[in-house]
């Protein structure tokens, strides 16, 4: 606090405005660029999108159509299918991934520190590759002929090749499978850091009380890791609700809309059919869903966390 600490010479004639800028001007200058960028590239677009969602948008002249766009999307089967797909994808991936991440972290934590580093590094590695790279590699892994890596693997057990991405029954599952086997690296590192932060004395006390391994786990480890789990849950849900690259590159939303997610539908509505108003309405539905879910997660999960 500048005013409180700098020796304050009595300067009676400086106006209040001048003093205000002398005291705080630098701080405002320091945040100027981010705030300007925020106003132009976030706030203005959000407000415009809101207006557009009530319009039949046209660059030359847009017409106000009220709730038409929202009505249209509620009646649109593809929209509901995209929500269903996104929900299935999220429910299918996020909890499973958190479980895998947790088990791996718990096991890694038992290792000597040299091995901890090795496993952390190995499992984080895929996270540095882009979504495009990962999608290309998995396109080849899912290759429907028996040259695809996954089908070759099935072949070892005498199973027939599967047309992974090309039929509605398996396409969405394939994307989920790819997500399961993908990177858990960031989550593992977060869990390990949190596990390291649990005071050893808690376990020692539990040992003296002859608490079983399970009791120690359910009464100490799991509750104290809740903030990390919550973080992974919230970020996991937010990212999986916006899954796009793998859908765009691997299935184009097909076959028969089996992998059309909300984010992909918004992209198609806007940049394939140029229905900017409708797409804006869809994007606001997505925003509301994400915000509501995040708030529920915070409420439900953080109610009994104590620090």
């Amino acid at each position: 606090m500048q005013t409180a600490l700098a020796p304050k010479p009595s300067v009676p004639r400086t106006s209040r405005v001048a003093r205000f800028w002398r005291d705080y001007g630098w701080a405002y200058l320091f945040i100027l660029a981010p705030v300007l960028l925020f106003l132009i590239f976030t706030l203005y677009p959000v407000l415009t999108a809101l207006v557009m969602s009530f319009q039949k948008y046209n660059i030359m002249n847009s017409t106000w159509v009220g709730l038409d766009n929202y009505e249209r999307l509620v009646k649109d089967e593809t929209f509901w299918k995209s929500i269903k797909n996104t929900v299935i994808f999220t429910v299918g991936t996020v909890p499973v991934n958190i479980l895998i991440t947790f088990v791996l972290s718990y096991f890694i934590y038992q290792m000597k520190s040299k091995w901890q580093t090795f496993f952390k590094a190995t499992m984080y590695l895929p996270a540095v590759a882009s979504g495009v790279t990962i999608s290309i590699v998995w396109l080849a892994i899912f290759d429907p002929t028996d040259s695809g890596l996954l089908n070759r693997f099935l072949g070892l057990f005498g199973l027939d090749p599967v047309i992974w991405l090309g039929q509605s029954g398996t396409a969405l599952f394939s994307l989920i499978l790819m997500n399961w086997l993908g990177s858990h690296g960031a989550g593992i590192i977060l869990y390990l850091a949190a596990m390291g932060g649990i005071p050893k004395s808690l376990y020692e006390a539990a040992d003296i009380d002859h608490a079983s391994g399970w009791t120690q786990f359910s009464k100490i480890t799991w509750p104290l890791l809740k903030p990390t789990t919550l973080y992974l849950l919230v970020t996991g849900v937010i990212t999986s609700f916006q899954v796009f690259i793998s859908v765009y590159l691997m299935t184009q939303g097909g076959p028969n809309f089996a992998t059309t997610t909300i984010a992909y539908l918004i992209y198609e509505t806007a940049f394939k059919f140029y229905e900017f108003g409708l797409a804006s309405a869809q994007s606001f539905v997505l925003a509301v869903i994400i915000i509501v879910i995040s708030v529920i997660q915070f409420k439900y999960f953080s109610s009994d966390i104590e620090y």
Binding site: A6, Y24, W26, A27, Y28, F30, A33, P34, V35, L37, F38, F41, T42, L43, Y44, P45, V46, T48, A49, F107, I108, Q110, M111, T117, K120, T122, Y124, P126, V128, A129, S130, G131, V132, T133, I136, V137, A140, I141, D143, S147, I189, L190, A193, A194, T228, I238, F241, Q242, I245, Y248, I266, Y267, S280, S283, L286, A287, I290, I291, S294, Y307
Partner: protein, 277 residues
């Protein structure tokens, strides 16, 4: 009893971890071996897990058929500029929010942070129209760079990091009549080096890997980034798996090398801001 339990746990854990490490690495390994075996001329792509014959012809084909060098140049240029702007502006703002008291600071900070919940899809269409129709910046570096010049997440990270720095040095510098920017530049930045290193690495990787916005805003081949170019190549050449694997490797290899050389920063950096310290 306790120690045998512990031993069993260790054995089970080791086996499971080794299996999962293999599962994690196999796709990356397969990408690499797939890119150095020539099998595109045969009807099906059937690289071996242990290649019998190494060939760089998938790379030759990839570079011959695409403007990969130009894309790499674009990606590098954009990633470097974004890293510099993000580090500079996020540290500056992070410092202001963490250490300077000024009216409205909390309100501005929480407003910025609150918008992180809004999905990118919402701002995308107006942003696109703004860039292309209002500013006439479609298909330019400026359009790719400007909206990402500083991200709220990075400001948040730097605020977290800056608030751990000792305040006494700032007071000392102020008494020495150092200007506020001078304090930031000469006192804060040197102290914040570990945080800055992490921020720089993550911004660089994220910018290099960014797909959606460059994909929307560019339409000429010369303006594409590696990721956008790769995607266009996949659609154009969906049969040449060898060249696709070579391209995927080209897009990922610089980041993989970066990861191995700066592993420590990567692994420590993730926890900044995410774990309550």
């Amino acid at each position: 009893m306790k120690s045998t339990q512990k031993k069993t746990l260790l054995v089970v854990a080791s086996i499971l971890l080794v299996i999962w490490a293999l599962v994690t690495v196999i796709p990356m390994y397969w990408m690499l071996v797939g890119s150095v075996q020539d099998s595109a001329m045969s009807a099906s792509f059937k690289p071996q897990m242990i290649p019998e014959q190494l060939s760089l012809s998938p790379y030759e084909r990839f570079f011959a058929k695409t403007d990969a060098w130009r894309w790499l140049y674009n990606s590098l240029l954009i990633a470097v500029i974004l890293t510099v702007t993000n580090v500079f502006f996020a540290s500056l703002a992070g410092y202001a929010f963490a250490k300077l008291k000024f009216p409205g600071s909390q309100a501005v900070f929480w407003t910025l942070l609150g918008t992180m919940m809004i999905p990118a899809q919402v701002t995308l269409i107006p942003l696109y129209i703004l860039m292309v129709n209002v500013f006439d910046l479609g298909d330019t570096y400026t359009a790719i760079i400007l909206p990402a010049a500083v991200s709220v997440g990075n400001i948040f990270l730097m605020k977290q990091f800056m608030s751990t720095l000792p305040t006494s040095l700032i007071h000392a510098a102020r008494i020495d009549a150092c200007s506020e920017f001078g304090i930031f530049w000469k006192v804060i930045l040197p102290m914040a080096k570990p945080g800055i290193a992490v921020l720089a690495i993550f911004t660089f990787v994220a910018s290099w890997n960014e797909f959606f916005w460059p994909f929307l805003i560019t339409n000429s081949n010369e303006m594409r980034t590696v990721q956008v170019g790769l995607a266009s190549f996949v659609f154009a050449e969906s049969t040449d798996f060898g060249a696709m694997m070579a391209g995927a490797t080209i897009g990922a290899l610089p980041m993989i090398i970066l990861f191995f050389s700066l592993q420590r920063y990567f692994l420590q950096g993730i926890t900044i801001g995410a774990v309550k310290g």
